[in-house]
Every structure is written in C-alpha cells, then in structure tokens.
C-alpha cells in the first residue's frame, strides 16, 4: 500500500477531537404548552417560524419563536407542528409523542467503525477471493 496507515490515522484523530460537539439539525421539543425549537448542538433556534396543523392537515395556528426558541401553542386541535428557520432547517413534531435517541457519541463511533471496517475489510476480502479463484484455476 503506497500510503502509511499510521499517517492516515492523523486525519481521523483530528476529526474525532470534535466529537464533544454534536451534529446539526433542528429539533422541536414540547414543554407543556410551549414548543421549543433547538438545533441539536444545543443552540436555540430564535429565528424559527412554527406552524401547527390539525388531523386534517389544516393550519390552525402559527407564530415565531422567541429568544429562547420557544412558542406558545394556543390551539388544542393541533396534532403536529412544523418549524422552519427559513435557512434550510426544518423540523416536525407530533404532539404528545416522545422521541428516544441513542447517544450521539455511540452513533458517531459506530458510524466510523462501519466505514473503516468497509474500507479496510473489503480489500482483504477481495484479495482473498482473487487468491482463491486463482488457486481454483491452478488446481
């Protein structure tokens, strides 16, 4: 292999330094009557516009998030809320449901292992197969 594995590790190690940070996506959280829009790095989405819809997908309420990223829903008929910040982020929350998510660290590590496993494992599998098929032809 023309490139040293050890030196390649520098790239991934440099990136792993950032793991305490979190990925970047808008989320909606329900806190009683309040709906709060946050990015999943913990930043509040204070520029979000929120739309509440009923079961027939009819808009029943809308408003803007405050400085804390929150907005008070005033219509009881709403079953889901859509938020957008106008900059390409969008989130949907079905009211009354709770979402459980696996720790982001775990997901990051699993993802990296899958990628590295594919990258380092596939060439070995391919070379073993080619050796076996070459051996079969010889035999």
């Amino acid at each position: 292999m023309p490139v040293k594995i050890g030196s390649l590790c520098v790239i991934v190690l440099l990136s792993l330094v950032s793991l305490p940070g979190q990925a970047h996506r808008m989320l909606l959280q329900q806190e009683g009557e309040k709906i709060c829009a946050v990015y999943d790095d913990g930043t509040t989405a204070s520029l979000a516009r929120l739309y509440a819809y009923n079961a027939s997908d009819v808009l029943v309420d809308q408003g803007f998030s405050d400085e804390a990223g929150c907005w008070v829903l005033s219509d009881d008929a709403a079953v889901y809320v859509v938020a957008t910040d106008g900059l390409g982020h969008r989130a949907v929350l079905e009211l009354g449901t709770e979402t459980g998510e696996i720790n982001r660290w775990v997901r990051s590590v699993v993802g990296v292992f899958v990628l590295l496993g594919l990258g380092f494992g596939l060439p070995r599998v391919l070379s073993r197969r080619s050796r076996l098929s070459a051996g079969g032809k010889d035999g």
């Binding site: 490139v3 520098v10 991934v12 940070g21 979190q22 970047h24 930043t43 990296v112 060439p123």
Partner: protein
C-alpha cells in the same frame, strides 16, 4: 448545510439525485481496492467533521471539511462525500433521504472545487494552498446551497443570509484545512497529499 426532506420540490430533488449519481459514478470509475482504506479514512473524517458547530445569528453553522477531502482524494472526493452524507442521514438524521442527491451535490461540488483550487494554487506552498483550497471549497459549497434555496423559491434574503452566516465558517474552514495539511506535512505524512495528484 444539509437540506432536510420536505423543503424542496420533487423535480428539484430528482435533478440533484441524477447529477449526483452521474458524478458519483465518474468519481468511482476505475477505483482500485488499495484506494479503499484512504477513502474510508477521509469519509470517516467527513462523517464526523460536521460535528464542529458554531452558533451564529440565531442559527447554527458547521464545518464540513470537504476541501480537505478534495485535497486528499482528488475526484474520488465526490464518492467520499456521497457516502458521508448518506451515513450522516442514517446515523444523525442529518439532512434527508429524498434530498440526499442535492446535499451530496452541494458538498461534492465544494470538494471538487477544493481539489481543483489546491492543484491550481499549489505554487503558493503548503501553507497557503490548503487555505485557498478550503476557502474556495467552502464558497462553492455555500454558494451551491444558496442557489438551491433560490431554486426552491426561498426569498433571496434567505439565500443571502445563508451566505452571510457562513462567512466566518468559510474563513475558519480554510484556516482549519490549512492547519491540518500543514500538520500532516510536519508529521512527514506528505505522501497522503501527494498521492491524490494522480486521481
């Protein structure tokens, strides 16, 4: 920097998917097995690279390191970006499946621009060329993203805000990539950078 599902029309998402698929096939053409370890390492870096984040102007922006991918992988960087964007959706729900093509296109074009800029500015030396490549890649990436917002009938002010909000990130990404490449050189890992020249 990742569009979620539901923001752009199906034809626009389809167009992005088609162009990305063509570019991914081009990037993967005549890929050798011995290139896979390098590809997977850089893809891993891209996969976690978007976890650098900066809260800014009521929104949140992040690094993508696509310029680094361009420097290290050349045209293969588009393939690396395509896989990384897919993994970011699968593991972080970052972006969307229907807009995978568009998100890949934004960042993949940035990576290719980074590769081109690095080759073009190589004469500036390994301190400034990576910075220039990182800067150009970030400008192309953010420009492509803003262009998509305009095509998706977002107001021009939104596209302009995206550009302004990413201004510091564009500069910082150039700086970060410059530091990483300089670090690789100091670690006598210049073979990583030079190996991308023939791709």
């Amino acid at each position: 920097m990742h569009l979620p599902d539901g923001l752009v029309s199906a034809p626009l998402a389809g167009a992005g998917l088609t162009v990305s698929a063509i570019l991914t096939v081009w990037a993967a053409r005549s890929l050798r097995a011995d290139e896979l370890p390098r590809l997977s390492m850089v893809t891993s870096a891209l996969f976690v690279g978007s976890l650098f984040h900066i809260p800014l102007m009521g929104t949140s922006v992040h690094f993508t390191l696509v310029g680094l991918a361009g420097i290290l992988l050349g045209r293969r960087s588009f393939l690396s970006v395509a896989v990384a964007v897919l993994f970011q959706f699968v593991f972080f729900r970052h972006g969307g499946l229907a807009v995978w093509g568009l998100n890949t296109l934004h960042m993949g074009l940035g990576a290719l621009a980074g590769a081109y800029a690095f080759a073009r500015f190589r004469g500036l030396g390994l301190r400034w060329a990576p910075f220039a490549a990182g800067w150009v890649s970030a400008v192309v990436k953010v420009g492509a993203f803003s262009g998509t917002l305009l095509l998706a009938d977002f107001p021009a002010a939104a596209a302009a805000t995206v550009l302004v909000a990413h201004g510091p990130v564009i500069a910082l990404e150039g700086l970060l990539i410059g530091l990483v490449v300089s670090g690789l050189q100091r670690a006598k890992a210049g073979d990583i950078i030079d190996a991308s020249k023939n791709r």
